[in-house]
Every structure is written in C-alpha cells, then in structure tokens.
C-alpha cells in the first residue's frame, strides 16, 4: 500500500491538530483541549496496536497492560517523591527526563517477557494468552495496596516537570503529547515501509513460508511486539500525566477491547485508520449519549453501549475497511 497519495491529507490533519488549541481558545471552548489531549494520547496506543493487528496479524488482546506499566511507572515515582520515601533504595522523582524514559524502558521489558512467552503460540492461543497476561498485570496492580490497590492513586504533586516547558499548562501539555504522537506516527510509517516492515507483512501472509527461506519469524514478531509495547507504555505515561491519576482500570481487559475496536473502526493496517478510529470513538463516547437524548431516547443515552454494540457488530460484519476505507476507497 503506497502512502504518498494521502500526504496532503496527513499534512492537513497535522495543521488542524496544531491549530486546534488556538481555535478552541478563540471560540471559548478551551475545556475541549483536555479531550483533544486524550485523543492524541490514545491515538498513540491505537497506532501501536495496529503494528501488531494490522501489519503482523498478531491479535493481541492484552495491549492495555502496557498502558498500565507506563502509567504506574510515572505514578509510583511521583508517589515516592510526594511521600519522600524510597523504593528498593531509590528515591521517587517528578522529573519527566527520568520518569518518561524509565516508563518506556519498563514497558519494553514487560513486552519482552510477555512477548517471549506468548509468541511461542499462534492463532487463538495467542489471543487467549495475551488476554491472560493482561489480567495478570491487572491483578498485580490491584494488589499494590501501597499504591491505592483497586482504587488507584492520585498524583498529588501534579504532572512531571521538564526544563523549559510547564506541563501543568494545558496548552503546553497538549503540544507535548502531540509532539510525541507525531514522532511515534512518523517512526511507525518509516518502520512499516522498511525492510523489517516487509518481513512483518510476510509473517501476516504466511509465517511458515518465511521460516523456510531462512528468516526468523519469532525474532521479528518479538521485536514488533516490544515496539508496540513501548508505544502503549508511552501512551500510559502521558495518560497518567494528563489525568494526574493512575488506576488498574487502565489495564482492564475491556480497555484492551476498546483499543482493538478503535483499530478496526478506523481501518487496520493503515496507521492513519486507528487515529481516525480514536477520533470517532471519543466522538461517539461524548456525543452518542447526546444524540440519543435528542432523539427522545433518554434511557438509552446513559446506556449508549447498548446502541454501540450492534453498530460495532455491523461494522465487523459488513464494513471491514473501516473509516479509512470510506475516506480512501480503493481503486483497483
């Protein structure tokens, strides 16, 4: 699939995302900057999952676990900074220069362990095992009584600190997340077009054939699994900073399901699709209740998932190319 034909589209999107805070401030709806930040943060996680589902054919159902690893790294460091205590002899910190790289490193480590074990299996076993690993980390976080257990914990010291940039200012924080998003998106675009990207495409088509020409499919899958885990960890670290709150809910298996939905809704194997999917998902979450109330279906507005479920089933059954396919219909 060639990317050049929607370069103008990508540039227009980028321009829109760059101008968004200015427009929102000018129109007096700057509260929506927080929603926009959420969009950018979760788009990173969705794009990272697309590397697995869309490009390599690995249906990982535990992706939210790495969100949790990233978020808890930031949260725990902030907790010890606030309490002025140490963890295994090391002090906590609020410095983003320490917390965010550490969050990425730990999510890479977690993805390496989970990937090394679950990639021994294939197909439906892989789905179930990633789901189980997700649950395992979920229960691990629930059992961390010191860090709030089931309820999670607030980051009382606020967001991470960086030299020159005040992350507690919502506009600067939005641009900070946007910068990470653009960087990660650009990296993934480069990755899927590289030689490694072609290896992934070959794994998706036929793994055995690849092995028989001497390429180690397991190793390639492990690499992409770790890269995707780091992407989710990044989103988790940013999300913890955004809400100044971490809880096991971030790693619940339904969260992994939501991420998969976003990828499919937008169109998998396209990188742009998951971003559109995140946009649509957040839009539906915000506005489907309002639309339903407008239609006089007050009861359904609180239970919007009752309507969303069937919509999703229809998309899965009849509109496989997602939103991306609607915008860029294929001309064969």
């Amino acid at each position: 699939m060639r990317y050049t034909h929607h370069l103008p589209f990508l540039l227009a999107c980028l321009a829109a995302l760059l101008l968004l805070p200015l427009v929102l401030q000018a129109t007096g709806s700057s509260y929506l900057i927080s929603t926009a930040t959420r969009l950018v943060v979760f788009a990173i996680a969705a794009v990272s999952l697309d590397l697995l589902i869309g490009y390599t054919g690995l249906v990982s159902f535990g992706h939210a676990a790495f969100l949790g690893v990233g978020a808890y790294t930031v949260g725990i460091l902030s907790f010890h900074a606030y309490e002025d205590t140490t963890l295994i002899g090391l002090p906590g910190t609020l410095s983003g220069l320490v917390a965010i790289p550490l969050a990425l490193a730990l999510s890479a480590l977690a993805a390496l362990v989970v990937g090394a074990l679950s990639l021994r299996t294939r197909g439906v076993y892989f789905i179930m095992i990633t789901l189980s690993f997700g649950q395992m980390l979920f229960f691990l976080f629930v059992s961390l009584e010191q860090y709030g257990g089931d309820d999670g914990m607030m980051m009382f010291e606020g967001r991470n600190t960086l030299p020159l940039l005040d992350l507690n200012d919502r506009v600067s924080f939005y641009y900070f997340c946007l910068a990470w998003f653009v960087l990660f998106f650009w990296f993934c675009t480069w990755l899927v077009r590289s030689k490694f990207g072609r290896t992934l495409a070959a794994i998706k088509q036929n793994q055995d054939r690849l092995s028989s020409i001497g390429i180690n499919a397991y190793w390639a899958k492990l690499q992409v699994f770790v890269i995707a885990g780091v992407g989710a960890g990044l989103a988790g670290a940013l999300s913890a900073n955004h809400t100044e709150f971490v809880s096991p809910a971030l790693t619940h298996w339904t969260r992994s399901g939501d991420l998969m939905i976003v990828v499919i809704l937008g169109g998998m194997g396209t990188l742009v699709g998951p971003v559109l999917g995140t946009f649509l998902f957040l839009l539906l979450e915000e506005f489907l209740p309002l639309i339903l109330r407008g239609l006089g279906l007050g009861l359904l507005s609180e239970h919007w998932r009752f309507v969303f479920g069937p919509i999703l089933i229809l998309v899965v059954l009849y509109a496989k190319t997602g939103l991306y396919g609607l915008i860029f219909p294929r001309r064969d």
């Binding site: 076993y125 179930m128 010191q146 998969m260 499919i264 009861l299 009752f306 479920g309 999703l312 899965v316």
Partner: protein, 307 residues
C-alpha cells in the same frame, strides 16, 4: 490444618466444576465450529439472572432451575442464528470483535432491565445443611451437590461424545469439517446444536452459582477469562483437557488464596507478606498457564486437526 486443607481442596474442586461447565461449551464451540466466543460468559450470566428472577417470583429452586435452562437455550439459539453463523468464514479477529460487541450489548441491556444492584438468592431449604464426609470434615450440602452435578454432566458429555452417532460426527467434524460435510452430515444443524448445548452448560453453571455469589452484570466475563486459562492449559477442543484444566485451575486458585499468605508469612514480615500474597495468589493460575505453555505450547491434550 488438614481439616482446613481438605475443605479448601473441596472448594477448589467445586470452583473447578463451574469452570468445567463453562469451559466445556467454550472448547466444543471452538473445536468444532472454529469460533472463539467471548460472549460465552454472558450465557453464564443469563442463566444466573433467569434463575434468580424465576426463583424470586416462584419461590421454587427446582422450578427455577428447570425453567432457566430453556431461557438460556433460546438466547443461545438467537445469538447463533443472528451472529455466530455469520462468523464461520471469518478470522479470529472478527470473531473476537463481534462477540466483544455482543458482550457490550448484553451487559448494557441487562443493566437497563435489572439495574446495577446485584441480585441475591438463598440456597434451597432441602440443600442447605451440611454433610460429614469421611475423615470428619463437615461440608455444605449445596456445594457437594454442585460437585455431583458437574461430574454427572461430565459423564453424560463423555458418553454422548464417545458412544453416540452425534458424538462421532462431532469428533469427526473437529478433525475435518469439510469431509464430514461431504459425507452428508448437516453441519449447520450440528453447529446450532453444539452451540445451544454448550450454552446450556454455561447457563446451568450460572443458575447453580446464583446462591453462592451475587448475581450481577459482568459476572460472566470474570469467569470466562479463567475458563480461557482452563481451555488453554487443557488444549483447545478437548473435553478431557477442559476437565483437567478446570480442576487444576480451581484447586490452584483456591489453595493459592487460602495458603499463600500463611506460607509467605513464615518468611517475611506480616505487612509485606499480605501485600505480596494477595498479588501472588490472584496471579497464580496465570503463572501456571505460563509454565504449561513453555513446555506444551498447545496445551496438555492437543486435539488432532487437519486444517
């Protein structure tokens, strides 16, 4: 100590029976239809709700048990005809998403109908006592009945699959679907049958679980994920594997929760031990699964498959 040990062992076996009833349907549907059905836990929940509501209305445990099974069967039939049937030719990703969406729909619908407050029901009068088992352990009669029911279902299922014509078709279809279809077996009818019967097992488990737990939205999914572990340990498609996996998971999970805090308490200071053991015991079954998969990536009883 040994008294407590035996009691916890029985609790583990009893949890294993629930897990088996749900896993059996899951593994049959996967083995024969090649479909991964996340909404299988919802059928467990439907069984529990039907039981609690009918039981609450009629006051009769037996009547509620008998009536809740057809309710689950009808729900399963509708799900099979409307959605599952369309997922045969699709890949696992589509199946996961469509059935995940189905969970959203069923859970939200149940919340709309019955609210978020859990329903409770009592153990029936006739089963509310305790029995004294050999060895002097007293154990609730209701839990003994559940173990009995689980074993009876397992036996019946084994007889059907190993000794009847339908069972032969199911075994053959699990190995090679196309050939069986070529030989004139009505696969569509068999699909529906397997799906509905599997659902009824899950519904039965839900109905029996009613008096032991709170009946609430989401109860099915928690159990379902445990069942995935059972099925993966046992080997997908294998009833024998599901039984072995279910008992193992049930016992390991229960024993872990009961004894890990004690054991760790001997080595660590109590505060640290309670924190770690809570995490360790809820993770124990997942650790078990990892160990099994490191040595046997397709489970303990892999089913031969020619696709």
């Amino acid at each position: 100590m040994s008294q407590l040990f035996l009691e916890q062992l029985l609790n583990g076996v009893q949890l294993g029976m629930f897990l088996f009833l749900v896993s059996a349907g899951l593994t049959l549907v996967f083995g024969f239809m090649n479909i991964i059905n996340l909404a299988h836990g919802s059928l467990f929940m439907i069984g529990a709700y039907a039981m609690a509501l009918i039981g609450g209305a009629t006051g009769s445990f037996l009547l509620a048990l008998i009536l809740s099974l057809p309710v689950v069967a009808c729900a399963a039939w509708v799900i099979e005809v409307v959605i599952i049937r369309r997922l045969h030719a699709r890949d696992h990703l589509d199946q996961v998403l469509a059935t995940f969406a189905l969970i959203l729909f069923i859970n939200e619908g149940t919340t709309m109908l019955f609210g978020r407050v859990p329903l409770f029901m009592d153990v029936p009068e006739s089963l509310s006592g305790t029995v004294t088992l050999p060895g002097g352990v007293t154990y609730p009669l209701y839990r003994v009945a559940i173990i009995g029911a689980g074993l009876a279902v397992a036996l019946a299922l084994w007889l059907i699959i190993a000794r009847t014509r339908v069972g032969m078709q199911i075994r053959a279809g699990t190995t090679n679907r196309e050939t069986v279809e070529q030989l004139g077996v009505n696969i569509d009818r068999l699909n529906t049958l397997i799906f509905v019967v599997g659902a009824m097992f899950a519904g039965l488990a839900g109905a029996l679980a009613g008096p032991l737990t709170s009946v609430e939205v989401g109860m099915g999914e928690n159990l379902l994920i445990l069942c995935f572990v059972c099925v993966v340990i046992g080997g997908i498609g294998s009833i024998r594997g599901a039984m072995l996996g279910a008992i193992t998971v049930g016992v390991v999970d229960t024993m872990g929760r009961a004894f890990v805090p004690d054991i760790l308490g001997r080595f660590l200071d109590p505060a640290a031990a309670s924190g770690i053991s809570a995490g360790l015991s809820s993770m124990s079954i997942y650790l078990l699964m990892v160990v099994v998969l490191v040595f046997r990536p397709t489970g303990l009883f892999p089913v031969a498959r020619s696709v």
